[in-house]
């Protein structure tokens, strides 16, 4: 009978596990702030990233709450229209560049990847630290942009407005440029680590699906992010020298900017979702106590999604003036990119079937993901249909679609993964009953906030509008109330997670009975990850057959 990847002992066996207290873990291996700032330990780097991205999430979330507050009535509630424009721009830019893109790979991925792989660290620990520093520098530029007047172009920086507005476009664009390199370095590190640091027996097809997801994500980071970098550079040069490549009066083409921008930004959404999907695979396998149905299909669909994701960016340009022929081609290709995602959803469902389901908090988030991501993904297909897109583009339907996939997808998966690996990272359990309640609160709040936006959008409510016709007001009010419920949920989550650091029950090495390698070492892990280098002799989800 397959026993799954093992270290020198079988999973959950008699080998004495070293808990945080009494044993030396990565947390107490060294002390003092310098031991954190100059660390080369991927676990500490992951923890610092986690703190940063959670701050970014709170900042981006605050802007969201503020803008939703402004939308309670058609008139002015809080701020004027120019400030409102800055709110939604900063909400978008912070959430995309400072939170969601680094969130799973840099925070959870940095911590978990080497351990799940069976390695002692990532391939280039100093590059990893550099990645963190670069993130911090980018964040400082973004903060500077915020305090020096903000940006009002929308996070998409479309020309010609972005080349002529007097707001702080250049600092924000520099922030995104710098943050892009943080992302690229993480990608380089992960690819090299997965190729070169696998222990004996860990073939590619015995890797956990979270690692396949991170691998696919890294491919996108390497190929797409530099195009964002050159786009932002050209935008900056355009503002500074008036070069005119995006200005029709000077012989340029503003749609060219959109091609450049979306060549990155569409694959970027797969950078956002793929790691989340990887987490969902882990959660569903662990909490169904069953191997993932169609492991190979799920692994290869991650790669397929990464590659196909580069073929569809023109679906963001359907009404921009892009040619009808190109739009038709992109529309067709957009339908194909739904296929790998669907493959995953069906395989996850098949995994659940006749599994031994444990409804712990991470599993609740995984189930929420299945529901919310499916809605988000399907509405993406609706939007990909060219003729439908003409009517729905730039309405709240689009806003609802991408929040369902980014928040209902990635954020939910991130939170699920955070809870799943919380005991491993901190050595403490979070309080299970209240965590479940918070999951329900967030689920209800999320749907109230964003389902109403599907309806509004289909009825014609445009996005990024400060004011609106009175018939939309009931929907806006419901959506705003929903945002308060989401806010409440995350606030309670913050409190109980912080509480658990000091007062949570001490976590065992393997609270979930999962089989991937990170559960074969103590919670929290020792500095070198494993006391004995693991030897892998089976797949990552080879649970004993229970039928």
């Amino acid at each position: 009978m397959n026993k799954g990847p093992t270290s020198s002992a079988a999973p959950g066996s008699a080998e004495p596990v070293v808990h945080g207290q009494g044993g030396l873990s990565y947390l107490n291996a060294s002390h003092g702030i310098k031991s954190w700032i100059f660390t080369l330990d991927h676990k500490r780097i992951g923890v610092m990233y986690l703190v940063f991205v959670l701050f970014a999430f709170m900042m981006g979330g605050t802007f969201a709450l503020l803008l939703r507050l402004e939308l309670l009535t058609p008139g002015r509630d809080l701020v004027d229209a120019d400030t409102y424009n800055k709110f939604f721009t900063l909400h978008g830019a912070i959430m995309v560049f400072l939170f969601i893109i680094p969130s799973i790979p840099a925070a959870l991925g940095n911590f978990i990847l080497p351990i799940q792989l069976g390695a002692a660290d990532v391939a280039f620990p100093r590059l990893n630290l550099a990645s963190l520093y670069i993130y911090a520098v980018g964040a400082i530029f973004a903060l500077y942009a915020m305090i020096s007047g903000g940006v009002d172009t929308g996070w998409t920086f479309y020309t010609p407005y972005s080349t002529s507005t007097s707001t702080a476009v250049v600092p924000m664009v520099m922030a995104a440029f710098i943050l892009g390199f943080s992302s690229i370095f993480t990608g380089i590190n992960f690819i090299a680590t997965i190729h070169k640091l696998r222990p004996a027996g860990m073939t590619m097809f015995r890797m956990p699906l979270f690692l396949w997801a991170l691998y696919a994500t890294s491919i996108i980071q390497i190929l797409a992010t530099p195009v964002l970098a050159i786009t932002l550079l050209l935008l900056g040069v355009e503002r500074w020298l008036g070069v005119g490549i995006f200005d029709p009066a000077m012989g340029g083409d503003p749609i060219l900017f959109q091609h450049f921008f979306w060549f990155y930004s569409h694959p970027a959404v797969y950078i956002m979702i793929l790691p989340g999907m990887g987490i969902i695979s882990e959660l569903i396998a662990a909490f169904s106590h069953k191997t993932i149905f169609g492991y190979r299909a799920v692994a290869l669909s991650s790669i397929a999604l990464a590659l196909l994701g580069f073929l569809v960016w023109g679906h963001h340009l359907f009404v921009s003036g892009q040619s009808e022929f190109a739009s038709t081609v992109f529309s067709f290709l957009t339908f194909t990119v739904a296929i790998p995602s669907a493959i995953k959803v069906f395989n996850w469902l098949a995994t659940l079937y006749r599994g031994s389901i444990m409804l712990a908090t991470p599993m609740l988030y995984a189930l929420a993901f299945l529901f919310l991501f499916t809605i988000g993904g399907l509405t993406g297909v609706f939007l990909g249909a060219l003729s439908v897109n003409i009517h729905l583009t730039d309405t709240y339907f689009v806003v609802a679609h991408f929040h369902y996939v980014m928040m209902g997808g990635t954020v939910i998966a991130f939170v699920g993964g955070l809870h799943y690996w919380w005991p491993k990272m901190t050595g403490r359990m979070y309080p299970e009953p209240i965590a479940k309640v918070v999951c329900a609160i967030i689920f209800v709040g999320f749907n109230l906030t964003f389902f109403t936006q599907f309806i509004m959008g289909a009825k014609g409510m445009p996005r990024r509008y400060y004011s609106y016709l009175p018939e939309y007001q009931p929907w806006h009010v419901m959506s705003t109330v929903g945002s308060w419920i989401i806010g409440l949920g995350f606030l309670i989550m913050l409190v109980y997670l912080l509480w658990s650091l000091r007062r949570g029950p001490i976590a065992p090495a393997n609270p979930w009975g999962a089989l991937t390698l990170e559960w074969q070492t103590s919670s929290p892990p020792p500095l070198e990850n494993f006391k004995h280098t693991p030897v892998v002799s089976g797949g990552p989800y080879d649970f004993p057959d229970e039928t």
Partner: protein
């Protein structure tokens, strides 16, 4: 060399040979630029450049002797560059098929014109032969 490393040390004459070939190809690059191959000009120039680039990559950068994955990664980059180019050009080259106004240049200079074009209105630009003679141009900003 010792200690179990498996690095080839490539012979000096290989490097010199590649360099001399590159010098020759540079001369060819300049030489062919004096001939007009019509619409093949770009293809000829890029072919010579690609030959030079291949020599640098395979020999100076050791890709010929290296782990094949490095070569795959390097070539893979160009596949994606190709996608970027292809789809963007498909858009730019097929504008104006259904609504001819989308294919026109901005013909009139705005009053606050760019420096160096005081009051002059140059004739509408002709178009590259690759487009087959039909005028194509970016639309004015309408978004």
């Amino acid at each position: 060399m010792s200690n179990g490393t498996t690095h080839h040390v490539l012979p000096l004459r290989m490097y010199i040979g590649v360099w001399l070939t590159l010098m020759l190809l540079t001369a060819v690059t300049v030489w062919v630029s004096f001939f007009d191959f019509g619409s093949f000009n770009m293809i000829v120039a890029m072919s010579v450049a690609t030959l030079k680039a291949t020599l640098v990559a395979l020999f100076f950068m050791h890709l010929f002797f290296d782990d094949r994955f490095n070569l795959l990664a390097f070539l893979g980059a160009f596949v994606f560059v190709g996608l970027f180019f292809t789809f963007t050009f498909i858009d730019e080259m097929t504008r104006g098929q259904y609504d001819p106004i989308e294919a026109n240049f901005v013909k009139e200079m705005p009053p606050s014109s760019t420096a160096g074009q005081q009051g002059k209105k140059p004739p509408v630009e002709g178009h590259s032969s690759e487009a087959g003679g039909k005028p194509h141009a970016p639309a004015a900003a309408g978004h």
